[in-house]
């Protein structure tokens, strides 16, 4: 865990400010890993437990939104950097 903190800081260490926005967006998508927790909750819920099922469903939905939306948005941002480089 401590190791991951260092890795996190090391990774971001020398990032140009140009990329702050995409990077934030990318990191945003990565913390969508919570979705795995949501899937586990969902999968463990007994079929009759509607509270767990409903909330779990909502959690899976929101988590997916976070993951998919995050990655797509980041990709769109970065697409622009790339197409421009090809153009030249």
């Amino acid at each position: 865990m401590i190791l991951m903190i260092f890795v996190g800081i090391e990774v971001i260490g020398r990032v140009p400010s140009v990329l702050h926005t995409p990077l934030m967006s990318g990191a945003n998508a990565i913390h969508g890993v919570v979705i795995i927790g949501a899937i586990i909750v969902m999968g463990k819920a007994e079929p009759g437990n509607y509270l767990a099922l409903t909330l779990g469903f909502l959690a899976v939905f929101l988590g997916t939104l976070n993951v998919v939306g995050g990655f797509v948005v980041t990709d769109r941002m970065l697409e622009m950097f790339k197409s421009k480089k090809k153009g030249n």
Partner: protein, 475 residues
Amino acid sequence: MEQQILILIYLLASVSFIMGLKMLSHPLTARKGNLIAAAGMAIAIFGTIFLYKNLETGLGLGNYSWIFSGLLLGTIVGTVVARKVKMTSMPEMVSMFNGMGGACAALISIVEFDHLSHLLANNPAESISAHQPMVLVIVLGLIIGTISFAGSMIAWGKLNGNIGDLSFKGQSVLNLLILAIILVLAVLLILNPANTVLIYIILILAVIYGIMFVMPIGGADMPVVISLLNSFTGVAAAFGGFLYDNKVMLTGGILVGAAGTFLTLLMCKAMNRSLKNVLIGSFGGNKTIAGGTSSNFQGTVKEISMSDAATVLAYAHKVMIVPGYGLAVAQAQHVCHELEKTLTERGVEVSYAIHPVAGRMPGHMNVLLAEADVPYEKLEEMEQANESFKQTDVTLVLGANDVVNPAAKTDPSSPIYGMPILDVELSKNVIVNKRSMKPGYAGIENELFFRPKTSMLFGDAKKVLQDLVAEIKAN
């Protein structure tokens, strides 16, 4: 066997996150990095669905139909929303997705707590102390996830322009008080997990805290807040990882938590603000004082006509464009590029001066200009631009305000004092395009507009630029 494969998959996913984040921090590899991280996420999700086994019961996961419909719905909505959103409203989008992640973490905690409390109620013999660490993790995940959710929603509304700033005296004290109450309740809950009402009170208080925490923060500081909330959600995800002893959630969460915090600090540094200042919201606090001093300089504002502006630009040798928030809002980046091309065709040397916090988020302006196909070499970073201003005939400021405010260098009482600015005054002429004389985000007047070198060109950035292009072409 399946468990080993799952562990391997998680390891792979964790590595892909680290690689992805690493590659995201270099312009050339950024896009590939994003895709790698996305692929890692995909294998982790499907690995979990098909290979996860409950260690106690040895059963796999059930309720596939629920899981898949949630996944499908989330994917569709997420893709559509993310594809349709305009480049200029990207920051609030990120904020919203972040809030969703926070809400997800909070919901997991609620369900898990419910599960645990049933377990305790049905088996009175079960010792409470054995479950206390789990309650701790659940409660922390709930608090952080909820704050992140509520805060992100407010940030989203603020960037949308739907929610204004709200601050009152003693707000920070009240906030601290709420936070203290939340923590006390959390301790009580851990000591006695049977007291289920507490978790809902904590939930409500955390929502309130999240709202109150973001409410007073000025729009210019919003990116920092979003970045901070981003790392919050990361930490909430990591607590989820503790809860399920799930390596990939733990690594992903901590990674984002650490990277997000560091990114937050980097952003603060770019704006020369301390995190503490941002959080306590000194922009709001100083507004009245600054308003008092700013009315002192009542110089005259010189307006310039469209045709004069066009002539000045067309016959200059070197023009620097300083794009700002106003350009982003008016979505004038394409027209701006057109102006630059028109001028270049006439033999004028044009480049852009990009302040680190120009636009609505650090780096946002670069994304916008990239969208309009502005060549990368035309963009100058602050230090480089400040050198170039000396040889510049005309500087065209498009909807930027605070980043060119000389008060940041000269007036210690100014709330933005000490923030690095673009020295547009070094150039021979400055033309400022703004919609009105209204102050920028920091809520302060800009002395620059009253300087003799400066002339004002009022109007919506897009409209003004279109007219300028037309005028120059007609010449």
